[in-house]
């Protein structure tokens, strides 16, 4: 394996590993810590953060990995989480280059709007399948989930940025030494 490919492989192992761990935690550990009846979406938080940090292509790939895992764990609509998460990564990726990513408001707003898009797609498909979801609960869940996911993003975004920087710098140093 070429040196560059090996480094890329390591970076992707870390990012994909984090996403898979987030997906597993979301289905098992996190339901004990619901806020106002809604669950935190760790995969979405990672997807929104890494799309801002690494760009649309990487964000969409991570979204596909995380979304597929959630779909398998859910056992219902195959591809629904993939659809929602990749749509979020795609949209954040479109505006990524025109926003100042170091500002706290940017990851907060990206996750807030991303959650609304992701949950909106979920509800739309569920409703098309004939499921009844009341308007009152719909508004409550959308706003609460968006708010708590955004708060979580604020807590982890700059740590993820540091991790991303560390991985890139490590690769750059290895590249120089070789």
């Amino acid at each position: 394996m070429a040196k560059g490919q090996e480094r890329d492989y390591l970076q992707w192992s870390v990012l994909a590993g984090l996403t898979i761990l987030a997906g597993l935690m979301q289905g098992s550990l996190l339901h004990w810590w619901g806020f106002l009846g809604v669950k935190l979406d760790l995969v979405l938080v990672l997807v929104a953060s890494f799309t801002l940090l690494r760009g649309r292509r990487d964000g969409v790939i991570l979204a596909a990995i995380g979304g597929a895992l959630l779909d398998f764990l859910s056992g219902r609509y195959l591809g629904l989480h993939v659809l929602g998460k990749t749509a979020v990564a795609f949209l954040i990726g479109l505006v990524r280059d025109v926003v100042y990513k170091e500002n706290y408001l940017v990851p907060f707003s990206a996750t807030f709007l991303g959650t609304i898009v992701d949950q909106g797609i979920y509800v739309l498909v569920a409703r098309l399948s004939g499921f009844t979801i009341g308007s009152g609960i719909l508004g409550h869940v959308l706003v609460s989930a968006a708010f708590f996911n955004s708060l979580l993003t604020l807590c982890v975004y700059f740590r993820l940025a540091a991790l991303d920087r560390f991985l890139r710098e490590r690769d750059a140093a290895e590249q120089q030494s070789s």
Partner: protein
Amino acid sequence: MVVRPPEGHRLILYAAVFLLLTAVLNLTAEREHVTALEAFLADRLAPIQRGLATIGAWTVKNWQALLEWRELKETNEKLRTQVELLQTENIRLREYRRENAWLREALGFRQELGYTMLPAQVIARDPGNWLSSIIIDLGEEDGLTTGMGVVGPGGVVGSTRSVAKKTARVMLMIDPSSAIGGVSQRTGDLVLVEGLSESAGLARVKPLVRDADLKQGDIIVTSGLSVIFPKGLPIGRLVTVTPGDYGTFAEAFLEPTTDLARLEYVFVIVPPEEDGDDG
């Protein structure tokens, strides 16, 4: 050399993938069987999920115990008194059961014997906010099939949907696609209990008889009209009943008697062997 398609072509590619996914979604909405890949992943991930679920439950329990230690002593005293009262009541109920069994036999009722309860641990839940399902650590290898009733400490929990070798997905009674036949314990009116969503935590109650008499606080129990649940298992308590025009029934909502958000262990009801006649 890798040839990158132009931006316009990439957008078309994204749109095509989107449409393909939408088509797959429509085909996989409600399934009784999981795909081989899903079953493989579910079985392989089960130990990790079981570990994470145990950690979560342990942490929450101990954290709450730490926060509530002042109340524990007082609660303990109250519970001791309550246990003594319940023991007395239990003796009385045993006597009623014996009497009831004798009466049933005398009236020629079919006995609800032969139901086996399999204990199972809840190892994961649906990761989303809308659909309500749990994953348990029993599967085909333990004799589970689709459509088996699942109960918890307080009563009805749901029923099994897709079953892998070592795990099974249980659709909770508050899932939007769930419907269970029930009966009001007070009046005997037949009702249908339909799920709303995980976040609502409630189920909608629709009467199956005209001029149904339902009141806030009424207990709804299983009707026993299906073989999934035996008759008389608690489903929930009516929390709101909205009367319609001219005194007719409009809408009612039920809160499950089992705390579905805090399930750790459940029991799967294995129905009695088919003996040719309908339950």
